[in-house]
């Protein structure tokens, strides 16, 4: 008996027991470690904002203090926080997804051609087709001529239910911080589908990241400005 006790004592020393808090933590809220990803398109997006005096930025992601500090204090942007991900999460939880496109019609109160830059992040990977059409239409409406739109589009289809918080580390690096959601990533869009979705914009730059995500920088051509 004493020999068995010695062995278990030795094993417990090799692998520490999980604490009560860790065991109580539900799987859905566990957050994976964050990634730091190099971004070429972000640098170009930031450069396009730097060229303007007091630019207006529309961020469709959730609010991130570091991003507010970066775009607000360093670049002097006026920032609109959309947090469409929160709406998506809420509609999914309430099982009211058919009502989402109509709701999204009301979520862009900005004046036409009033925004210099739009951060979509990976929103379109999580939207269904009707909702994506509504959002893309409003983004093209509010974007100023020569303004830029920055987004991520998955090239593979991982069946995952997690949103990502994108935190600007510097103008070439983003920290990807995943967090749980009931919303699954939707079907992967082909390049032609993405271009068709934003038919009022021109693809300025497109890079395939090592995470198998395509980052695309769109610009609104000057010739599309209002007469």
């Amino acid at each position: 008996m004493s020999g068995v006790g010695k062995v278990t004592g030795f094993l417990s020393r090799l692998a520490s027991r999980r604490t009560a808090e860790e065991e109580a933590e539900p799987v859905s809220t566990r957050i994976e470690p964050e990634l730091v990803v190099h971004s070429k398109a972000l640098k170009k997006f930031v450069a396009s904002l730097r060229m303007r005096t007091s630019p207006t930025l529309l961020d469709l992601g959730c609010v991130v203090g570091a991003n507010i500090e970066y775009f607000g204090e360093q670049l002097g942007c006026r920032i609109f926080i959309g947090d469409i991900f929160a709406d998506l999460d809420r509609f999914q939880r309430d099982q009211k997804l058919p009502e989402l496109p109509a709701f999204l019609e009301t979520r862009f109160p900005q004046e036409p051609e009033s925004v210099d830059g739009i951060l979509c992040w990976d929103l379109f990977d999580f939207l269904d087709k009707p909702s994506a059409g509504v959002v893309a239409g409003h983004l093209m409406r509010v974007l100023r001529p020569t303004g830029a739109l920055f987004g991520f589009f998955a090239t593979s289809h991982p069946a995952e239910a997690r949103f990502t918080k994108f935190i600007v580390a510097d103008e070439s690096h983003l920290r990807h911080q995943p967090y749980s959601t009931p919303r699954m990533r939707q079907a992967v869009m082909q390049n032609r589908d993405i271009i068709k979705l934003f038919d009022g914009l021109r693809v300025s730059d497109s890079f395939l990241l090592h995470t198998q995500v395509r980052e695309i920088l769109f610009r609104r051509p000057d010739y599309l400005s209002k007469p």
């Binding site: 005096t53 609010v63 991130v64 204090e73 002097g76 006026r78 920032i79 926080i81 959309g82």
Partner: protein
């Protein structure tokens, strides 16, 4: 018994008589104890609290720091002071203050001359105008953020207001400030 002793005890000639309502520890000198107590009370008075059960509708204007744990609807103006919306605070108002700390819920625009600080339990639905904005992880925010940089020019005007000697009149060709970009 205690009162009779207190009356019998001789007091120093210069010291002011202590009001009967104040409790004085017999070990400490009377005047020093009451001063400390007074200071403590003064410090406590500098921050006003609106408790959980209080509902205010209308304009709230003040010249001292304020903590709100209740409900306020309308307009809050504390131009040179700090407004703290506690974890139980629910605000549906236009807010003007020197600094605003949000731990509860705010629905309305916030204008601060120094800083807006939204803590992890805070929720803001409205537009923020402040030179500095801090948003903690977990905080919820929807609206716009505009960080106005402080112009240098008004400092001279402030100095004049404060009664400083008037500087010789030199009219600049064009107003300049750090906010103007080349």
């Amino acid at each position: 018994m205690w009162k009779r002793d207190e009356n019998v005890r001789p007091t120093a000639g210069r010291e002011a008589p202590v009001p009967a309502s104040q409790t004085v520890s017999p070990a400490a000198p009377v005047s020093r104890g009451s001063e400390l107590e007074g200071r403590r009370q003064m410090d406590a008075k500098d921050v006003v609290n609106i408790g959980k059960s209080v509902v205010v509708k209308g304009e709230l204007i003040g010249s001292e720091d304020l903590t709100i744990e209740g409900h306020v609807e309308g307009k809050i103006e504390l131009k040179d002071h700090v407004l703290t919306i506690g974890p139980h605070g629910r605000i549906k108002a236009e807010v003007f203050a020197k600094a605003v700390i949000v731990l509860g819920e705010v629905s309305g625009n916030i204008t601060a001359s120094e800083k807006v600080d939204i803590r992890d339990s805070g929720t803001v639905d409205g537009n923020i105008i402040a030179p500095r904005v801090a948003i903690a992880e977990g905080a919820q925010f929807r609206g716009s953020v505009e960080m106005q940089r402080k112009p240098e020019a008004p400092n001279a005007a402030d100095a004049q207001k404060a009664g400083a000697p008037k500087a010789p009149e030199i009219k600049p060709a064009a107003p300049t400030g750090p906010g103007t970009k080349s």
